[in-house]
């Protein structure tokens, strides 16, 4: 029986790997996800056939049924109800639950095992720390993204770093104590409490546009917690799966950091923000040079354009304008204009956020072009339309080495013939600096809410 279970776990691991492999292309992604789900079903069924589970009697099986039903109801409701604009919150919650489950299982094993070996105890400690940090860190990220209690901006207080170091040392100390005396369950509880406080404190200094990094990193933690739980249970499939997810999160974290030209440390300490040193005054940059325009004028620009590139940013998600943007793109295409979308890696609040929103609005995925791919084509672009993006199109990143966004790769929109910026005001983006693009000779500003501006543009084009 045990051989049968282990063999099924191996099969499930292979299905997980093929599942992720399916995600390397939109054509195979649906099948890949189904393969992953099939692997999970096999693994669960095999576990139910385990003597310990199957033989646990009516009470045990009843609890299992209740837990699975409850989790399925909550999970399915979340997954089916969530709006695509709220996907970063959803992923933050899933990260939290993954971390929480690992910490709880490690605790259960510790409570259940009379004389656990060193590997089990050490892995339990690691699961407890990573799991609780992930759980609370992800809940803080969720809260910030959802705009509940904590501000979206970084939260700083005196001696923050010192406190984090003390807490980190405390978790290691508690961990050592548990390894020395695994029978002390209270110390595991204490470890989880300290880990939880650490999780909260590590995430509150991260805000706004840095969220993609935080979410990717917490994603990685939730995988590592699962892998560590695999060491607790001596279970291959948890280790394989956990390390796949851990690797995935780390790779995404690295991509996000590179896209902001910042080190991971810099992001984690929340070093960027509105009060990060002197910046060139907004008046100096904008005075007398910003040209405001009307939807009718922009419609005329579009009329003579052969190629238009649309640059979406977080503002498009906030305004929920993706469907209107799609209508605008379709309208321009029907008039023979070439339309493409330029997606910056950190546009939005999580990796790939803009792609999902535009796919939801039925935009052909071939038109969603990544930064490196589309940048050389801006010189041949007649009109670039920017909707709710700021820092990712700020040319200061190329020119001013003292700027907080110095060296960050940006979309070279300023190279196109005309730039139209849809924005409610001249307020700065997350980096807190003015954007000379708005004052450039070839830029016009269309001051309005994203959705309304696009609707007005559609009307103006149809009337013109």
């Amino acid at each position: 029986m045990s051989v049968f279970i282990d063999f099924t776990y191996l099969l499930a691991s292979v299905l997980f790997i093929f599942g992720i492999k399916g995600l390397t292309h939109p054509r195979t992604a649906v099948r890949g996800n189904l393969l992953g789900a099939t692997g999970m079903l096999l693994a669960v069924v095999a576990t139910l056939a385990d003597r310990q589970v199957f033989g646990s009697g009516l009470q045990g099986l009843g609890l299992i049924l209740a837990g699975v039903l409850l989790g399925t109801t909550i999970g399915a409701t979340l997954a089916l109800k969530i709006q695509m604009t709220a996907m970063p919150q959803m992923v933050a919650l899933l990260n939290a639950f993954g971390g929480g489950a690992s910490a709880l299982i490690a605790g259960a094993v510790l409570a259940d095992t009379a004389d656990p070996g060193t590997q089990t105890v050490v892995a339990t400690v690691v699961s407890g720390i990573i799991g609780s940090v992930t759980f609370w860190g992800s809940l803080v990220a969720f809260d910030k993204l959802q705009g509940l209690m904590l501000p979206d901006n970084p939260v700083h207080f005196p001696a923050q770093q010192a406190l984090n170091v003390i807490l980190a040392v405390a978790t290691v100390g508690l961990g050592a104590w548990i390894v020395a005396d695994p029978s002390q369950l209270t110390s595991y509880g204490l470890l989880v409490v300290v880990g939880s406080v650490l999780g909260v404190l590590l995430t509150i200094p991260i805000g706004g546009a840095d969220m993609p990094v935080a979410i990717a990193l917490l994603n990685s933690y939730s995988g590592l917690a699962a892998a560590s739980t695999g060491f607790v249970l001596n279970n291959d499939i948890l280790i394989i799966t956990g390390s796949l997810v851990g690797a995935s999160g780390l790779i995404l974290t690295r991509i996000m950091c590179k896209a902001m030209n910042r080190s991971l440390m810099n992001v984690l300490l929340g070093a960027i923000g509105p009060d990060s040193g002197p910046v060139q005054g907004a008046d100096e940059v904008y005075a007398g040079r910003v040209k405001s325009t009307s939807p009718e004028e922009v419609a005329m620009l579009f009329d003579g354009a052969r190629r238009v590139v649309i640059v979406p940013g977080y503002g498009m998600a906030v305004a929920q304008a993706q469907h209107q943007v799609r209508d605008l793109a379709n309208l321009l295409e029907s008039k023979g204009t070439e339309v493409e979308f330029a997606i910056h890696p950190v546009a939005g609040r999580m990796p790939g956020h803009m792609n999902v929103l535009l796919a939801e609005a039925n935009v052909d995925y071939d038109k969603l072009r990544a930064m490196d791919d589309i940048n050389p084509s801006f010189q041949q672009t007649d009109v670039t339309l920017i909707i709710g993006a700021n820092d990712i199109v700020n040319p200061v990143a190329r020119t001013d080495p003292s700027s907080p966004i110095a060296g960050m790769p940006i979309l070279d929109v300023d190279k196109s013939r005309t730039v139209v910026v849809v924005k409610r005001s001249l307020s700065p983006g997350f980096a807190g600096i003015p954007n000379p693009l708005f004052a450039a000779d070839n830029t016009v500003m269309l001051f309005a809410d994203g959705k309304k501006a696009v609707l007005d543009l559609i009307t103006a084009i149809k009337d013109g």
Binding site: V53, I64, L233, V245
Partner: protein, 96 residues
């Protein structure tokens, strides 16, 4: 400790496999990658099943809570990933 080295070997090899595949996932699909990997990290559900069944009050309670959380991850993760990847299509394909 006799199980540790084989398990560590599996861990290291799986990390390499993960890095190889995941670097090939295009930015287009990074959000589904995150929710999909969340779903498979819900594999902790099997640890939760074993804990619930272990007997003893505390392990059962902890295991039950873990079971609920892991099930949310599995069901919610795969479903929401399906919703997303099903939206990625080319115009000529029509709704899938």
């Amino acid at each position: 400790m006799d199980t540790f080295l084989p398990l560590l070997t599996i861990f290291m090899l799986a990390v390499f496999v993960g890095v190889e595949i995941i670097t090939k996932v295009p930015p287009l699909l990074h959000t589904p990658l995150m929710s999909g990997s969340n779903a498979i990290s819900g594999i902790t559900i099997i640890g939760a099943l074993l804990s619930v069944a272990a007997g003893g009050t505390l392990p059962t309670i902890l295991g039950f809570l873990a079971l609920v959380l892991a099930t949310i991850n599995v069901v919610g993760g795969f479903l929401v990933t399906h919703r997303m990847v099903a939206m990625f299509r080319k115009k000529d394909q029509g709704p899938s």
